[in-house]
């Protein structure tokens, strides 16, 4: 239970970061926070609800792998953005709309 509350808090912080930051790197950091919160959830549930199963841990491990892959693509994208726009401020990356 405590873990779940902690993870909800961490997730909220992540949401806040994602919504308020303008720098793409900082937004990505917020997303990483959210993913970590999810992992906490998985591990805690795994330990308390299914003590003789490790599915939750496996899930968390996969989440970590995926997060790493995502971060890899994400930072590549950021570098591409920087080359094209000379900044990584997502509010200014706004050619297309409406």
């Amino acid at each position: 239970m405590h873990y779940l509350v902690l993870s909800a808090l961490l997730f909220s912080i992540g949401i806040y970061g994602v919504l308020t930051r303008r720098n793409a790197i900082a937004i990505l950091m917020g997303i990483e926070l959210m993913l970590n919160a999810v992992n906490l959830n998985f591990v805690a549930v795994c330990a308390s609800l299914t003590p003789n199963q490790i599915t939750g841990q496996i899930f968390a491990a996969f989440v970590i792998v995926v997060a790493a892959a995502e971060a890899c693509i994400g930072f590549a994208l950021i570098i591409a953005i920087y080359r094209n726009f000379a900044k990584v401020n997502v509010d200014d990356i706004n050619i297309m709309r409406w």
Binding site: H2, L19, T20, R22, I27, V90, D91, W98
Partner: protein, 683 residues
């Protein structure tokens, strides 16, 4: 004696008819609109008094006699997943007292308005709104189920919004009505959630069982609905609604600003009746605030436990104290009264929260009388002086003797001078507090002292001394305004006598269940302390303000005494989180959506409500005159524009907004489907 189902129906329908007439034919009736409203509402008020009389005289009022009936049932869905909403009325002692208060005081205030509003350009519309208000307030009181309660609750709020912004040309009035609307909406959201929750748990929205329809309170009370932790949550959510409507901390911020409306409105809505709706609701749902029945409210995984009653009592007590201190430093005659209203509502909440069911509602009744009286007097003063600043008045005792005399009665009642009404009801609450929680009691006594102090301050500054503005020649108000003052001052003076410790008629009449028959816990000690507090307050106030000459450039002596504290109080404890803070902007930002501030969704919504009511109803006849084709063309143009705006709203091209959209959509979907879950969970 029984009551024919047609009587409660008429009580609600008559003012509503008056509203329709005044709204549709108002421009033709002009001044006669008042006549229509007064007669129809008067009829309804008479029926209210009749109902009160019947209930009061019936055989066993103290057994909590409940007369109720159903006009019609609304079925949502069919078969197993259907949900019934029985629309009907309920008349028990509490309701009958409320009917009496609302009907009686409401009518006199409407009479007063005839004089006060004379010459206003939107005279008829004023009476239309007032009628609508009476209809919905009476409906709120008579409601026998949560749905009807909620609808009337919102209608009352709408009327309040319309009447605060009645002089919408004035910028402050416009701001104040928006503020009231938004702030109370925060509470109403909780209220709605609470109702949903209750409907989920019990599968019903009816208050008390009738026939084979299960009632919420009945089934909770007799234990046929299993106790679970959600009840306490539900009552806390319901109380959130009361916090908004009854202006409790922290949603109290709208009430002082609501004084921008016409003074009779302040008297009726923001002092006597509407703000009491929250108190009434808590009293009505009292089962849900009973710790023995609903248990405690668990927060954050059971780490904090508080019973709903304690929550109510503490918030009430804090509100009472805070508002009283703020009232000390205000200079606007109506604002002082507004803060005192907040403070007194806090008393009522405190009483209810401590289990003093009858004391809380008793104070509601007496307060309605003297606060209406005080506001009407203030209106009379404003009418004469054309200003709200108390330091610009002074010496009105000679010019307006009748107003002064009645004001004195009201002030005495509020300050708690025996044998005026306020003393008895406040004493009863304090006696209960003394029994249950010494700390709350002490705070209550301090507040009583402060109450006496600020009322004396106001009285002295306004009526005593010399007249400070020489350019105005005040005169007494016309008889049509004085008559209500007289009547109400009788109420304010005498209504307390039905609940004295020695002859507690009221306490026997309005009780909560049989198990909780409570006497007036007459404690001589408490009464003595209360008396001392009031008297000290009055004397202290008179010494500060009455004895010395108050000049035009007068430094408030309290400022010298309190020093920095005074500025703190004058700034309303810096608690007006709505004005000039980020929160207000946040609120606007959220509803304005992704486009930020330039497309006012709130404005749009409020304007929409305004249009629907003010435009569609009041100018219905004009719409008839227009060609239907014209309307259609305009409508299509409007729709296209709307779509265009939404389009711009959503596709901003900003990733941040896209992400927000994902989260927002997720939240909206959850909110939407919760309602369906409720229907499914309890077929």
């Amino acid at each position: 004696m029984g009551i024919s189902p047609i009587v409660p129906l008429l009580i609600i329908v008559l003012p509503f008819v008056s509203f329709i007439i005044c709204a549709v034919f108002g421009h033709k009736l002009r001044e006669r609109a008042a006549l229509v409203a007064l007669s129809l509402v008067g009829l309804s008020s008479l029926l209210c008094l009749l109902t009160f009389g019947i209930v009061a005289l019936s055989a066993q009022p103290q057994k909590g006699t409940i007369i109720q009936g159903i006009w019609m049932c609304i079925q949502i869905g069919n078969g197993k997943s259907s949900f019934t909403i029985p629309l009907g009325y309920i008349v028990d002692p509490l309701t009958s007292v409320m009917l009496f208060v609302v009907g009686f005081i409401g009518w006199w205030i409407m009479l007063y308005s005839v004089g006060y509003m004379r010459g206003d350009a939107r005279y008829h519309r004023y009476f239309a709104y007032m009628s609508l208000f009476m209809a919905s307030m009476l409906g709120l009181v008579l409601a026998n189920n949560f749905v009807m309660l909620y609808i009337c609750w919102e209608l009352v709020g709408l009327c309040s919004y319309l009447l605060i912004g009645f002089w919408y040309e004035r910028e402050p009035a416009m701001r104040a009505c928006k503020k009231a609307f938004i702030v109370t909406r925060l509470g109403d959201t909780g209220f709605a959630l609470g109702i949903f929750l209750i409907a989920t748990i019990t599968g019903s929205v009816l208050f008390y069982s009738i026939g084979n329809l299960k009632g919420v309170f009945t089934s909770i009370h007799d234990g046929s609905v299993k106790q679970n932790g959600l009840f306490a949550l539900a009552s806390a959510l319901l109380f959130l609604g009361a916090i908004g409507k009854s202006a409790q901390f922290p949603l109290h911020v709208w009430l002082p600003d609501a004084m921008e409306g016409p003074t009779p409105v302040s008297a009726l809505i923001h002092a006597a009746t509407m703000v009491a709706a929250g108190v009434y609701m808590v009293a009505r749902c009292y089962v849900l605030f009973d710790e023995h029945i609903v248990g405690k409210l668990m927060l954050l995984g059971n780490s904090i436990a508080i019973s709903p009653g304690e929550l109510v009592a503490h918030i009430g007590c804090f509100t009472a104290f805070m508002a009283a201190t703020i009232a000390l430093t205000q200079n606007d005659i109506k604002r002082i009264l507004a803060y005192s209203t907040i403070s007194q509502l806090g008393y009522m909440m405190m009483g209810l929260g401590l289990g003093a069911y009858s004391a809380g509602t008793f104070h509601l009744m007496t307060h309605a009388f003297f606060k209406a009286l005080l506001f009407l007097c203030a209106g009379s003063v404003i009418h004469a002086m054309h200003t709200n600043e108390i330091f610009e008045m002074g010496g009105l005792k000679r010019a307006m003797p009748v107003t002064f005399a009645t004001y004195l009665v009201g002030m005495g009642a509020l300050a708690g001078i025996p044998p005026l009404s306020g003393f008895w009801s406040k004493d009863e609450i304090l006696a209960h507090a003394f029994m249950h929680n010494k700390f709350l009691w002490a705070m209550g006594e301090v507040t009583a002292f402060l109450t006496a102090l600020y009322m004396t301050r106001q009285l002295c500054v306004v009526f005593l001394g010399e007249q400070r503005r020489r350019d105005i020649h005040p005169h007494e108000s016309p008889p049509v305004m004085l008559l209500p003052l007289f009547v109400l001052s009788f109420g304010a003076a005498l209504s307390g006598l039905v609940g004295t410790p020695w002859m507690n008629l009221y306490g026997k009449f309005v009780t909560y269940g049989e198990a909780h028959v409570e006497g007036h816990p007459s404690s001589g000690f408490v009464m003595l302390i209360s008396l001392c507090a009031s008297i000290t307050g009055v004397l202290f106030g008179y010494r500060l303000y009455g004895a010395r000459r108050i000049s035009n450039h007068f430094e408030d002596p309290l400022r010298l005494i309190l020093g920095a504290t005074y500025s703190f109080l004058e700034a309303k404890w810096h608690l007006d989180w709505y004005e000039g803070t980020r929160i207000r902007h946040a609120f606007f930002a959220i509803v304005n959506g992704c486009r930020g501030f330039d497309l006012g969704f709130v404005d749009g919504f409020i304007n929409l409500v305004g249009w629907v009511v003010a435009y569609v109803f009041a100018y219905l006849h004009r719409l008839f005159d227009l060609y239907v084709v014209d309307g259609l063309v305009n409508g299509v143009a409007l729709l296209t524009g709307f779509v265009g705006n939404v389009l711009r709203l959503i596709q901003t091209g900003l990733v941040r907004h896209y992400i927000l959209f994902v989260l927002l959509g997720f939240a909206v979907l959850i909110a939407f489907s919760m309602w369906r879950v409720i229907l499914l969970a309890h077929p």
